[in-house]
Symmetry: C5
Subunit: 381 residues, 5 copies
């Protein structure tokens, strides 16, 4: 567990490096010496309602001819670690240096920045299993082009790719850059649902356990889930704001037709946030319930100990008395009961009386009722 | 209990499936292969102040003649699992594909979407017993028609049906689509009151128990109630926003006359939210009160244990001393008291002094006062 | 206590019945079969700066002549359970059916509804002793009339009545419907101050107790007070919003002169809310303080038990050793110390050493310092 | 302590009496029979850049001549309990009855009320030692006059008085009523800083204690400080709103020049609120830290008790066995070990083995590691 | 630790002295008698795209010639404790007295004040190690000049200095005062990232510890971290507001070009706040997790104690019985079992039965299952 958490926290820390060094110019971060990663994989979809070309390219220069020929071109870049390619793309599409800097520093929150040359949108796609790490997806919406950057290869866009290749698909018919951008954002946002479903399943299991076999593992798992939900909430929240900005801001690059569709994405982000908050509250309730169960058990254990101890400790004292070695022969005052005819039965009777008195005391305090235990047992079934 | 919770959580998880697959086109969800459920039951009310026709129909085509003849038509569809019927209805009434998608994915929050052809309103009707599951009701308000979709048959609309059949009823006289929609929303929202009354009754019982017989079952029930209230709050909140949108947005399909009535629904949603929040706070207070009671009892039990143990443990040591077998004959230093004439009475006196000293110590610390117990007893009566 | 709480909760539950049955028309609630209560007491004040007529009337028809003769008429109705009278009043003053429905369903929150014929204001007057139940007061402000409905007779309006009868009073001189309405609202809102003073007194007492004799009764009382404050907060909050609406909304029925006075009422509602919130925080702090005191005591008790037990349990073991019956004659290895000349003194010395070692151990851990106890004692004085 | 708290709470309760009696007219509160206090001390500063007259006056009539002669006059009234003087001042300066009522009922929150004749500002000056009681200061800003009412004599305005008497001072040069009002408000608001510094010092001490000698007194002091901060927060918050209203509202009585200075006061109120909130959070953290320390100690104590008890309780049982008096002569089965040659050494060996086994069990559970203790000790140094 | 905290708290308290004395004029704080510190170090950068002059100066008069010659001049003053220099600078650049007062009282929150002569911006630069103290940086943006005041020498601006000296740098090419101000603010804001990274590293370590070796030191460290984050949050929050004000307010001194860059700084402040809040929630979760671990261990320890004690305490009683010295010869009723042939074996059998019964009781209650222990052990690995 600790291993997992560590990776999560370390990753979260990487969030900082938004600038190479405090005080450095924004442009400095695209210097080749800082970004000497491998050349990214670049994939181009150039299409119109009637035609489509899909190919992987090696050089940014191959894009220009396609762009000239088709009304809409989608360039998907996987990997953002190579300064040279970044600069070339920046020049080819007229990207603002600040936007390019944000593409490279992959810890942006979801946001929309409107530059003159293009609309810059950041969303984050989520891993669908436990650490729920998120990768930055940068989307540029410009005149006749959509340019996307993914940190690493993911399959969220596969469905869109296959539809682009089908001539009759809705996507081909709506051959507009803004509609494509909607579909890309929609695909990324919908990717959070399986992640939450995953957490929901674990909550489901946990709910069983907490009712039936509450062990300390429950608390540990709730602790993990809360951490996961914290990360997811942090990732999802800014999406709502960003999508809302796309809907409200009167940017001519987004048509009214697409805004109608974006409202649907907005509803999805609201649902996601609602779900995350609800899950967090369920986690909190479970934790409280578990803590109360622990506390109840402790109470029960203490009660048994107290009953046993308070009955037998006085009894032990009583038998200790008659175990003393005072010399009965030295004086008639020295433990004459040891020599009585009914001494032993009398001693047993005294002890029975003490025990009975104690039990009566407990009974009147209500400590002997098995009510609590029955309740607890019932809870377990 | 766990059974019940599980069903609740599983259901909540279903919330996700707003899209068949991340990346898929919104239209894809209406494909026959995905929605192959039975044909839904369709009921048509076509009416005017003077006339009414009410009938169940088999084919969507039967609607057109009625629509032509009457100024207002209400079509209620129960069941949303059949793609074919959905498509036919969509075409007949000119519904937007996104709206139709939301009708089919029955986990929307209450909302209002204004499309050109019709106003699309989602509300959720609540089950009035314990799991408090909610079903989606989709309402389309268009020119001369109201189209509603229910997930499953419910009786919330029965009163409206019967009034439609009475010639002189207010509903017949106000023969406007928007007024009918108000009545439908009102019926759904008012359905939450009995559900909350149900919870209120359980809180009432619980309040008795918590004051009189606080068992661990109380905590478990409070835990359940909190979960139920969490779900209800989640369902109710968006209604307020949606109704407010209907009142504020200058949509010509809603008349000022109806807006006055919708303000009344808005007040009801405010009351409901207020009630839910109050109940949640009452739950929290009860839980805290119960926890404190447990803690107080634990304290009381510990005190009894401590008093008994600290009196008798030293006494047991004392009697243990005179139970040692040192040979009194081997030396005059070896336990000469065993042979004293008043050895045994002296031993008893020593023990009485030890016990008395302890009691005095406890008394001065205030541990022997029965104040707390009396308080506790008083609480129980 | 439980009795009191139960009544509170049950009453709160009555909040729901805003409509006879989900789906019913709003008008249905005024049907004679549903509201067959006794005829309400109706009291009429018709006045001008120079003249006043005050009388109880039997029939609604008696109002009309007075209304014709005087510029301003105030009709106060006590009791809202008779459908017939309600209908008559509704017709006489042209009240909107929705408003009339709200008058009858006496669980509205404070609010202002502007209808064409009249301004409808709901405020809630509070009982000034412990359950702090609130009754609905409905106020209609129309052209030349003020119409008020009280659930039951209360004395909040007595001062206003007596001033109306004094010729020179400010109220007579300001012979405007809106100024009278201000005075009525002001009287109702100011009625919350004694209720809060009552709670303040109980907090005062509690503060003494919590510092001097913290018993479990404290917690129980804090629990009650929190419940009371919850109810009061719930009642007061909407008043601020309602009064603010009266001040801000440009309704011609409220003059600027009166708005100045309403700002004063607004300040009072703000003070009330502020007071309620402060009291709630004080309650929370007291509860935390009490819980910590309990926890500290438990700690102290555990320490005493531990010290006593850990000193005497080993000692008991030691004396147990020399109480064994190994036959010293069977072997020189068998407990020869029993026959030593200084066996017994040595045994006592061993025990003293064990006890001393334990005490030293405790002393070095700081468990023997009476610091905490002194602190605790000081707290009590 | 309880004494102090009681006074605080009682004072807070006085907040209510904003009106003599619910339903009474606002004007009623200035009736001589209700306000029969001693005549207040009245001090007049009449000044211009070149000249100043400062005198105590007996009769309100003495003000008129000064007012006629100087462009700006400041009247400071200490004591608000005499109805007659209040009425005279009200008439002399044309004060609104509602404002005058608020002057007399000294429990207003900081606020600004714009009347036609004058601007009415309420601020509260704070006592700089422990109960931190606040007094109401009422400021009227009118045409050529500033009129202030203090509940009791305080020294916040002393610096202003002395500057007024210096011919070259900035205050004399800026001979405008609104600038003087700014200086008065500024003086009152800055008076909160020493009060908070006082609390800060106590927090400082407490922080030492909580780390070094955490006693239950810490919790009690934190409880007090939280109460003090609650009161201060309650007093400070409305100031920010009031000052902001002065800055934003386009009232011609406040010049743009003065607004610039008021923005500085606004910054101070923001700093004060920020400080109060931070101190409250520090208090909360300290309380949690203290509670955790208590909990850790309890844990440590329980561990020692458990180790000692679980080692010696079984040993005591073992020695008890060989202390039984079965007759070894009656049967070879009856405790033959008592007569064995190595019986006693064997018994000791058995006991050593039991103790060793227990210690091994504890060691493997990690209960014997002194890690926690070392940590605790380190914390104390 | 306490040492560190103390310094933190004391420093925080210094926040107050925003005015020498309540009631004093704002101008008073620049009096030489109050500010008699050493003369500050003054550094001037006068530059244009083609030329740069960088020098330390002794007298404010040396600035004027440089200002006349270059289009943009940056004056950086380190140290604000000398009244004379402050006054000279104030006159040279036409600074408002209120702004100058704020420069000297170094406990302002980040803010923007627009004066006619210049824009006054306050930001706070943070120390990057543990106490995370912040120093005030005052920035004046005027016509052709940027004037900055630092409390003490820090290296945040070093990168900017070196770029200013490079002819081709972006900063030299964008030779505008507002762009330079953006770079200065950016440098200060980015300085918070390493501080948060530092905290993140400590959280990382802590996460390991809390999972593997939860000692009370963990809680103490979490307590410290929460305090640090509280301070950082308090420092960072106002920056967002201030930067937003720079972006939104239509001040002609900030060009649209620079606003685009400031949006980037705004994003950074949002990221910082987000990070701080997330870290605080992680701290809270860790604390809860630690507390629960302590509670679980306590439970486990209590269980072991209870099992051992409840088994052996009754057994000790039983052996005590047969250790009594009743005289078997005095009567056949007196402990005849001591003389039975199988007395001793029978006694052992009785004891075994008692122990077995107890174990069975515990087993049926589920106390003997090692489930919890295994879970706990698993957690540790």
């Amino acid at each position: 567990m600790s291993k997992r958490n560590r990776s999560r926290l370390s990753r979260r820390l990487r969030l900082r490096s938004s600038k190479s060094r405090p005080g450095a110019a924004p442009e400095a971060s695209l210097h080749p010496s800082e970004l000497a990663g491998p050349r990214p994989a670049i994939e181009v979809f150039a299409f119109s309602p009637t035609d489509v070309v899909s190919q992987s390219i090696q050089s940014v220069k191959e894009i220009e001819p396609l762009r000239a020929k088709f009304s809409l071109i989608w360039v998907n870049v996987v990997g953002v670690g190579n300064a040279e390619v970044m600069r070339e793309l920046g020049q080819a599409f007229g990207l603002h240096p600040l936007a390019l800097e944000d593409v490279v520093h992959v810890h942006q929150r979801a946001k929309v920045d409107a530059y003159e040359s293009s609309l810059y949108i950041v969303v984050r796609e989520v891993e669908q299993v436990a650490p729920f790490e998120t990768d930055q997806v940068s989307i540029f919406l410009g005149d006749g082009f959509v340019l996307t950057f993914q940190e690493r290869p993911r399959d969220n866009f596969d469905a869109i790719r296959s539809q682009l290749k089908q001539p009759g698909s809705f996507l081909r018919q709506n051959c507009h850059a803004d509609y494509l951008v909607y579909r890309l954002i929609d695909a990324v946002v919908d990717g959070y649902f399986p992640a939450l479903e995953n957490i929901g399943d674990r909550l489901d299991e946990l709910d069983d356990q907490v009712s039936n076999h509450p062990t300390s593992a429950v608390f540990s798992t709730v602790h993990q889930l809360r951490g996961d939900l914290l990360l997811l909430r942090r990732a999802i929240w800014p999406h709502r704001e960003a999508v809302n900005q796309l809907i409200r801001d009167p940017d001519p690059r987004i048509s009214d037709h697409t805004r109608t569709y974006l409202r649907d994405v907005y509803d999805h982000t609201t649902q996601l946030i609602d779900l995350v908050e609800t899950y967090r509250e369920i986690c909190t309730d479970m934790r409280d319930f578990y803590m109360s169960t622990v506390s109840n058990r402790m109470n029960e254990i203490m009660k048994v100990l107290t009953i046993i101890a308070t009955i037998f400790i006085p009894l032990s004292f009583v038998v200790g008395i008659w175990g003393m070695n005072f010399n009965t022969e030295a004086s008639p005052w020295n433990m004459p009961e040891l020599n009585w005819y009914f001494g032993y039965p009398m001693a047993l009777a005294v002890m029975a009386a003490v025990a009975g008195g104690m039990l009566l005391f407990f009974y009147r305090r209500g400590w002997l009722s098995r009510q609590d235990d029955e309740t607890t047992s019932k809870d377990r079934e």
